[in-house]
């Protein structure tokens, strides 16, 4: 079991979600792909979820159940075949969401011709933020994320964990408060994952982000989230919502507690029920 002992505090009560307040929400979202051969693949069916400002939510579900599809729709990259996505309670078109929501894909997708800092400001540059201002913002985050020494390094000279951290800074800078993370640590070893969870919590609490994290890892979901959405196999739909009311920081003591073990059992049961 991994230990996150850093002195992270729960978001202060003034940032805690007020009842009914929603930062990003999907209402009855369904999505069907039409393959090249004309065959239809129902990826999502009637997914409704709502995430409050400052909340850390996780989405967990079997492979191919539509998790990436859901994030693509939330980010505005794809139009759902049915349903709407609300931002701050307002219905939006996919196009309106582009540029407002940060997305961190599974692979870091850093540009090999840009330095770490140049990659981190990619989103800001698209928004037309002047170079020196963008770099100053990125430098601030680099300092917080332990990347200061590597500002001028090119991606090929960075380790996998550092590249992922640069990608996290880029996503955090690219947009408003909502950050969507698609299995961002999937390809990394356990120690590096633990390290990156630390930086992710820093991004969440230090920067006041609202996070939706897609993960395969039950422990990761419980260590990080306020709530976990469990999706059914394809076509994905929300099977269970599990509130994780564990104290933070979720150190070894919390991980050994009866509550943690019980939540873990419930989560695994919800996942297994559908197999």
């Amino acid at each position: 079991m991994l230990d996150i002992t850093a002195s992270f505090q729960h978001p202060s009560s003034d940032r805690a979600p007020k009842p009914g307040e929603q930062c990003i929400a999907a209402m009855n979202v369904s999505h069907t792909y039409r393959g090249d051969d004309g065959q239809r693949v129902a990826a999502l069916r009637d997914v409704s979820l709502s995430v409050a400002p400052g909340e850390f939510a996780s989405v967990i579900g079997p492979s191919g159940c539509g998790k990436s599809t859901l994030l693509g729709i939330l980010a505005g990259l794809d139009a759902p075949t049915a349903g709407v996505v609300l931002l701050d309670g307002q219905p939006t078109t996919p196009r309106q969401r582009l540029g407002r929501i940060g997305l961190m894909p599974q692979r870091d997708l850093l540009l090999p011709w840009r330095t770490a800092l140049g990659n981190a400001v990619a989103g800001l540059r698209v928004h037309g933020v002047p170079g020196n201002i963008a770099r100053a913002q990125a430098r601030d985050l680099f300092a917080r994320f332990g990347l200061s020494q590597f500002e001028r390094a090119y991606p090929h000279a960075l380790s996998g964990g550092m590249r992922q951290r640069v990608a996290l800074v880029r996503a955090a800078l690219a947009s408003g408060p909502v950050l969507l993370l698609d299995e961002p640590f999937g390809a990394l070893d356990a120690l590096t994952r633990a390290d990156l969870r630390h930086w992710l919590l820093e991004a969440w609490q230090g920067l006041g982000k609202t996070i939706i994290l897609v993960t395969h890892d039950v422990d990761e979901a419980l260590l990080l989230s306020d709530r976990v959405f469990v999706l059914s196999p394809r076509p994905g739909t929300v099977r269970a919502v599990i509130d994780v009311a564990l104290p933070r920081p979720r150190d070894l003591a919390v991980q050994g507690s009866a509550e943690f073990v019980e939540l873990r059992r419930r989560l695994l049961t919800a996942l297994e029920a559908q197999l």
Partner: protein, 281 residues
């Protein structure tokens, strides 16, 4: 004490030199030069020992000697040809990259035109050159058009392939930033296409010199093509071979120039490639 520090410094400097890479680079240059030397040596020995008529096949030493003696005539011809090459290549580069960008941004245009470009490669430029001369005379225009025709294709195809090779996920990421098509083009796809574009340019630059000479050969007042035709008519095999060698050297020099520009323009590509290849230091 002092000497030992100096010795340490020298040792550090010595071990800091990337010998592996220096040796590899030297090998890359020396190996083909050695092979060329062996061929020329064999040629020299064969011609002298078999007593071949110098009017049919002169020895390399003789060719070098006579070519240098005629340098006063050859050099202006070379300059003219290189000027035409530079102008023609610049046009080809601009047209080629412009066409690639245009076809890439407008898919129906690509669908309509790219098969025609491929088909156009079966048109023998050899047959077109006399027509161009008929239409444009012996001035620069005809030659520039021949060079553009020869170089346009490799540059356009490389540009199109390079632009299309961008990872879809990377484009999605930039769309999620709210990037416009144009921003995606110049921030992601164009830089991503540069290595491919450079390999197209490397092919085109060698074609360009040949294209210029060919156009001159058909009809011109000055240039290497004219020089070649005149010396051939005068049965000066030595000077013809010498001019061909000078042409080859000029082509190789241009090729190397492109490689140097490439190293300076896209160092990240070579750095990343070295890493993939596992090459160290």
């Amino acid at each position: 004490m002092n000497t030992s520090i100096t010795q340490q410094r020298i040792a550090a400097w010595w071990s800091g030199i990337p010998w592996h890479r220096a040796a590899r680079t030297a090998g890359k240059i020396l190996a083909p030069l050695a092979a060329l030397g062996i061929v020329l040596g064999a040629w020299q020995i064969y011609v002298t020992s078999a007593n071949i008529n110098a009017l049919i096949l002169p020895a390399p030493s003789q060719i070098a000697q006579h070519t240098l003696a005629d340098w006063a005539n050859l050099q202006p011809a070379l300059v003219v040809t290189l000027q035409e090459t530079a102008i023609g290549f610049a046009y080809a580069l601009a047209f080629g990259l412009g066409t690639a960008a245009l076809l890439d941004l407008i898919p129906p245009l690509r669908a309509a035109l790219s098969p025609l470009f491929v088909a156009s490669q079966s048109i023998p430029i050899v047959a077109l050159a006399p027509l161009l001369q008929l239409w444009f005379g012996t001035d620069l225009t005809a030659k520039v058009i021949v060079i553009v025709l020869v170089c346009f294709f490799p540059i356009t195809v490389a540009g199109l392939d390079g632009l299309r090779a961008t990872e879809p996920d990377l484009i999605r990421l930039y769309r999620s930033f709210g990037a416009s098509l144009w921003q995606i083009f110049y921030l992601v796809r164009l830089p991503n296409a540069l290595p491919a574009i450079f390999s197209g340019i490397r092919i085109a630059i060698t074609y360009s010199v040949i294209g210029a000479i060919f156009a001159e050969y058909v009809g011109a007042e000055q240039g290497l093509g004219v020089y070649l035709r005149e010396k051939q008519a005068a049965f000066r095999v030595d000077l013809v071979i010498g001019a061909i060698a000078v042409t080859a050297i000029a082509s190789v020099a241009l090729f190397l120039l492109v490689m140097v520009i490439e190293r300076v323009t896209i160092p990240w590509f070579f750095a990343a490639r070295r890493k993939v290849a596992g090459g160290e230091g």
